[in-house]
Symmetry: C2
Subunit: 165 residues, 2 copies
């Protein structure tokens, strides 16, 4: 019922349902805060979270194809297309015909797109930076370990691939 003592360790095998539930609730509340800052900014531009995600990954991996982005975001192409179309119309994203395979479309941020991506990213990094500083480097390492274990093999592969490219 009450929190188990010995905060550091030794309690590995005593994973009570209560401890797990606390973890679940922490994820819920933290994710809400995590998205809150960019959400405020996005609203000013009339965009949503979906636009942010697209901008983020196009920035991260410039020139990626629509299919790749689809896999990373885990949504249907109809859903992505709605978002992508407005970003292209508004001049934040550019879609170029693939060099090798002309069926593909490669996605790039325009200068304006890079500006918005940067301010969204900065809002989100601000909170992350402050959380990291508060919790300390050892906690940060643990944070990343648990998240990586939580994503499961498929998403973990995506996540790791992103590091290299």
């Amino acid at each position: 019922m009450a929190e188990n003592g010995s905060p550091g360790g030794e309690t590995l095998l005593f994973l009570t349902d209560e401890q797990l539930r606390r973890g679940i609730e922490a994820m819920f509340f933290a994710y809400r805060a995590f998205t809150a800052d960019p959400d405020r900014l996005l609203e000013e531009y009339g965009y949503g979270r979906a636009h942010h995600r697209a901008l983020h990954f196009i920035n991260r991996q410039s020139g990626l194809t629509v299919t790749t982005l689809l896999a990373v975001l885990g949504v249907t192409k109809q859903s992505l297309n709605r978002v992508l179309r407005t970003l292209i119309e508004d001049g934040l994203v550019e879609s170029r015909v693939g060099r090798r395979d002309k069926r593909e479309r490669q996605l790039y941020l325009t200068d304006a797109g890079a500006v918005l991506e940067r301010s969204l990213s900065e809002a989100q990094r601000g909170r992350m930076r402050s959380a990291y500083r508060t919790a300390g480097p050892q906690a940060v390492a643990g944070f990343r370990q648990v998240l990586e274990a939580m994503m499961g093999p498929d998403l973990q592969r995506l996540y790791q691939q992103m590091k290299d490219e």
Copy 2:
């Protein structure tokens, strides 16, 4: 560019944008996995994530009022009401007029509601448990520390209150 060495610590003040971005992406992918298991179950019942959240917190704090639940979930009461109505109609949640204040409605899970909550929770705890086991107790402590720092004061207060009641 590359991941800094010395996995344990010492890198506190070297919070590069790249490191922060990795954290952001880890949150994104992990949260997706985090919700995937209960989502599959919910679909069988014709419910969504909002129903899960309501069931979770009603179970956690039996007899809480609609207003309290509203604050915890961070949505508008109209949005919550739609979800709550279907849960009540389907006999998973009971809404009783408040004893002291008759304007209030106190919310309780029925037996059927408790059964569904339990299976949703079990699905979610399964992934959490496995991530905790993989990462180890020290990582778990860090995970919780970073999440708590990330939620900010308001949500952290809600989160902490929930522990006691």
